[in-house]
Amino acid sequence: MTALFYIAAAVAIIATVLVITRSNLVHALLYLVVSLFAVAVVFYTLGAPFVAALEVIVYAGAIMMLFVFAVMLLNVSADAPLRVPRSAWIGPLVLIAVLLAELIYGIGLTNHALHAGEVGPQQVSAALFGPYVLGVELASMLLLAALIGARHIASQPESPGLDEPQPAGEAPDTRANEGGEA
């Protein structure tokens, strides 16, 4: 099990690095799926099979599906800036090096052993619908709000919006247009 953890961790790190370095968007997303699968394995080795399953179903399944749909809808590769110049990496890398060093120092290598044995779906569900039931309700409200909000934001405005080019010659609200795009 220990070996499995370290292998999965290595896979997760490598896949995640590839996510942020690939200039092909679809490739990047596929590496993200790999990374999420690896994290699911990590969860399994930590004795949390329930969230391991959820990681696969929700993250790697549903959320990634959304990404893929968005990419297909937008035909992203045609225009988006996907290549990053080498020099742009320097500053962020220095920053995260410092941050990571601090975090590792803070965590400390004290070798606290994890609790042996797994925490199965039954216990999770008991906690979820016991003391955390209010949180579940709030999460459902959040998801509903996100659903409505996404529907509203993505839908086309009813009047000719700022986005469509106006027919030449007759431009009743040219000024509004300019105001919007300025």
Binding site: V17, L74, D79, P92, G117, Y132, A146, A150, A154
Partner: protein, 102 residues
């Protein structure tokens, strides 16, 4: 059954987090930026699960579920915004979104 230590799990979470962070700092594509945020949220969830596993309690996993719900909500709205963004500006470059600069 496991000889995995708490520290290693947390360090893995920290590494994933900073990778997501560096992606957010360098990549200009809005979709990739959203993916980076997903990575960071996932890392945070991982830290919860590791901490829960330390004590053998279900709380960490419950927190991961909440993070998951939040990530789902965030990505739904974020992608909807990406669609509008593309329609408005014709591109998906986050650097283009500077209309509100002072």
């Amino acid at each position: 059954m496991a000889a995995v230590s708490l520290d290693h799990g947390l360090i893995l979470a920290a590494i994933l987090f900073v990778i997501g962070f560096v992606g957010l700092l360098t990549r200009r594509n809005l979709i990739v930026a959203l993916a980076c945020i997903e990575i960071m949220l996932n890392a945070a969830g991982l830290a919860f699960v590791v901490a829960g596993a330390r004590w053998g309690s279900a709380d960490g996993q419950v927190m991961f579920l909440f993070v998951l719900a939040m990530a789902a909500a965030e990505v739904a709205v974020g992608l909807a915004l990406a669609i509008r963004f593309r329609q408005s500006l014709g591109r998906l470059d986050v650097d283009d979104a500077d209309e509100m600069k002072g």
